[in-house]
């Protein structure tokens, strides 16, 4: 899950990385109070899950409190690439002499960690990689060995930073690697990593992605609370469903990410458009299926529902019970087409048989079911 900048900085601070003093705020008054405590000048920074904040007017320098008030008022509520600004981060302004880039992430091909360091910071690393690939010093770190100080120093030297900060950067990168591994991050990125006129290195921006799977040993709740989700996604998330909102009219429920993705594709292929991706997961029981149907049912764009289940760890009888339960519990507005195969499918069919009608139809294959669902979506009045 992606952290907001200020969350990333707070995360970094727990690993002793040099970040600016700052405070988060959700109102103009809150921003002013924060700036008074910190002392001007400060930077007012929009906290949204997207890049390009500066260009969109989401990052402003405030020399005094009046400027803080004016900028905070402008930035709160700003729409940056579809993300409405609800959080501000107010931090002490820093003077910049040089801008670097540093990150760790997983290299899926090499199956080791990849560290990238560059003297060309402040712009997107993809742009640097494209225009001047030699400006990025890379290091591959085997997790068994970890990042040694010696290795790290060689890496820093290879990046051709200002030699006066070599030791500071070595120390910082060792801490950053620790934050990456011990914090269960899949990405830690500092861009820019600045050198101040006084020759101190400092973390000016923070991009951190934490591993959703590490919830059993990391406290992810505060970050989870600020994830950008539309209404449908929020409702699904609350029920523990893997849901991604899309733009079409065929509601999709499937078990397993691959089958769910494929179902969305096949709906598209036969001329329809899916309203969502929804994976009820492995081993989903009746309650999960009923919850999934409720989420789909609350989407006003949905004109038909395609349930595509291939039982492995998920059992056909549980799926059937869930559908029947949901139909009893809520008024399902759109007609349902179901395709059910795999583990206990025969039992599932026996359960569904008495409930089949024009509101609940079945098709033997994925393709035929998709065709019927798309046809029903087209003929169901809006």
């Amino acid at each position: 899950m992606d952290l907001l900048e200020y969350q990333g900085k707070q995360f970094f601070a727990t690993y002793d990385l040099p970040v600016s003093d700052g405070e988060a705020a959700t109102s103009v008054d809150g921003a002013v109070a924060a700036a008074e405590r910190l002392g001007t000048p400060v930077m007012i920074k929009a906290q949204v899950h997207t890049g390009g904040r500066g260009k969109a007017g989401g990052v402003k320098f405030a020399a005094d409190i009046d400027a803080v008030r004016a900028h905070a008022d402008d930035i709160l509520g700003l729409n940056i690439k579809g993300h409405i600004v609800k959080h501000l981060w107010i931090e002490k302004a820093s003077d910049i002499a040089e801008e670097y880039y540093a990150s760790f992430t997983l290299d899926r091909s090499a199956k080791t960690h990849l560290g990238m360091l560059s003297a060309s910071g402040g712009i997107e690393i993809e742009t640097v990689a494209e225009q001047n690939p030699d400006a990025i010093a890379k290091i591959w770190v085997n997790p068994i060995d970890g990042l040694t100080e010696n290795q790290c120093r060689q890496w820093v030297l290879a990046a051709k930073l200002n030699p006066t900060v070599t030791e500071q950067v070595v120390e910082l990168l060792l801490k950053l690697y620790r934050a990456y591994t011990e914090g269960d991050a899949s990405l830690v990125e500092i861009n820019p990593l600045i050198v101040t006129p006084a020759g101190k290195i400092h973390v000016l921006d923070a991009k951190v992605t934490l591993d959703d799977n590490a919830g059993f040993r990391q406290n992810l709740a505060p970050y989870d609370a600020t994830q950008p989700r539309d209404e449908r996604e929020a409702a699904a998330h609350e029920k523990g469903l893997e849901y991604v909102g899309l733009e079409g009219s065929v509601g999709v429920i499937a078990n397993g990410a691959g089958l769910a993705m494929s179902t969305v594709d096949v709906v598209n292929q036969v001329g329809g458009r899916s309203a969502n991706f929804l994976d009820i997961g492995g081993g989903a029981d009746a309650d999960v299926m009923a919850g999934a149907l409720e989420v789909i049912n609350n989407d006003p764009e949905v004109r038909s529902i395609f349930i595509n289940i291939f039982g492995g760890i998920t059992r056909g009888d549980e799926v059937a019970n869930g559908i029947i339960e949901a139909m009893n519990r809520v008024d399902i507005k759109a007609p349902i087409v179901i395709r059910l195969d795999g583990t206990n499918a025969v039992v599932g069919w026996a359960l569904l048989e008495p409930h089949l009608s024009d509101r609940l139809q079945s098709e033997p294959t994925m393709l035929e079911a998709a065709q019927l669902a798309v046809e029903l979506a087209g003929s169901t009045p809006t």
Partner: protein, 294 residues
Amino acid sequence: MSIFLDENTKVVYQGLTGSQGRYYGMLNRDYGTQVVAGTNPKKAGTGVDGVPIYATVADAVAHTGANASCVFIPAAGVRGAVLEAAEGGVELIVVITEGVPMHDEVYLYNKLKADHPNVRLLGPNCPGLISPGKANVGITAAHIAKEGGPVGVVSRSGTLTYQALYELKQKNVGCTTCVGIGGDPVPGTSFIDCLAAFEDDPATKAIMMIGEIGGSAEEEAAKFIASNVSKPVVAYIAGVTAPPGKKMGHAGAIVSGGKGTAQAKISALATAGAHVGQSPSEAGDLMAEIVAGF
């Protein structure tokens, strides 16, 4: 023949005393898999439906000659369970558990590579593997797989694997072995490992490969196919309509920074000479045509 798993494989189930482990362990046994042991340090000396429970994998190996393990342990315990299995002396470790942290996966991959190079790890977050008519280890609904070959199947997605097997069976095409490698960012066994094994397996005459968006495993597989695979390959890639930046369920399935798109994977595979189906059923049709020509 088959790859990685056959009727002689003896499997110890780590987590056989749990509800999922027991359910699928017994289903696997009913199918014909040699389910020789389970492990649970607190229940050593007991049994599950006649299968003896030992404290550790090493004990199970010593008493039963187990040479494979299947892991149904919760995510927090997977790292320890896999190391225990590798040190205990099995050659194949199949991890069904989903939700294993990336840092544990990348650690296990490199640890096994360094200290136990002859141990094959499959998964985590995979459905397991089945050599139809011989043995099934994991959660694949076995009845959908037709035995006898000549197709080897390898897939990154669980339910899509079942879909692929089902499509083949509908068309009366059998399968030598079907391997679900799992959808996580650092799978223990890769497409390439499976492609190489199928290429070497005389009973496998053609290979079906199911991929999805995210990462570059399919592109790497395409390169391998072009230079190392002489048998016909049929491929299907899920996620053609997936929007960038949205994780489609699997931790690995995301189009980010314009990389990992279905289109890039499809064209890489097509360029490598693979036959790419636009849907699972079209992939099944393509494979049926190829098999009919043998």
